[in-house]
Symmetry: C2
Subunit: 102 residues, 2 copies
DNA sequence: TTTGTTTATCGCAAATATACGATGAATATA
DNA sequence: TATATTCATCGTATATTTGCGATAAACAAA
């Protein structure tokens, strides 16, 4: 992909918001996030039981949500417990709230 | 891409929300949307002056926003005036509001 | 140490996204 | 009719996303 001036032409907030939105741009990740919002934390294994997807695929979606800063993972050997990213979540809410004028 | 049961495993709302989020998943489209939210409508030509991107690229981003239902275009020869999609906008607000518990 | 459990990562294939220049379509004006 | 303006679409190249199975890593328990 060719990116020139555009790379620096966006504000931090615009890039953050786009990254958050991009991470929300798949129905599986919407569902995962809903689970974490509504019923606190869960393990990867719980999700592989719910979704008709391979374990590796679920893990990739979790990685995408984690890298976007929407969720965080806590290692509890041999499991990993995922929760909302409590630090970033207020920013997520604020940025969408501001954009959509809610 | 292989999709099996998953295609039907998502609710309409989840797919809609994912589509909206996906369309918001690029900083240029965030900026375009901001312009339309804050200063009403604009023409494609206005945007090609603002962004350091080819006219065809801007047009593609507008198409993405339009197909997601976020904006609508009105032909005013030889220009096209883009505005927020007034019909869909309340749904956009509602779905994000519900997800993020705003 | 060996085995089982759980999860992440690698490697691959197919689909989608992003960018550009070139071209086409629609319309107003000369 | 011919020209200029505006915008969309086409064709192409490259990057990213999405999915899978296979494998590796981390650790508990036998």
């Amino acid at each position: 992909m060719i990116r020139t001036l555009a790379d620096t032409a966006y504000s931090l907030e615009e890039r953050q918001l786009a990254d958050f939105a991009k991470a929300l741009g798949h129905p599986v990740r919407i569902q995962i996030l809903k689970i974490l919002i509504n019923q606190s934390c869960c393990f990867t294994g719980n999700l592989t039981e719910i979704f008709p997807l391979a374990q590796s695929t679920i893990s990739q979606h979790l990685k995408a949500l984690k890298e976007a800063g929407l969720i965080q993972g806590e290692i509890m050997p041999p499991k990993v417990r995922y929760c909302l990213n409590k630090e970033k979540w207020p920013l997520v809410q604020t940025l969408f709230k501001e954009l959509l004028k809610l």
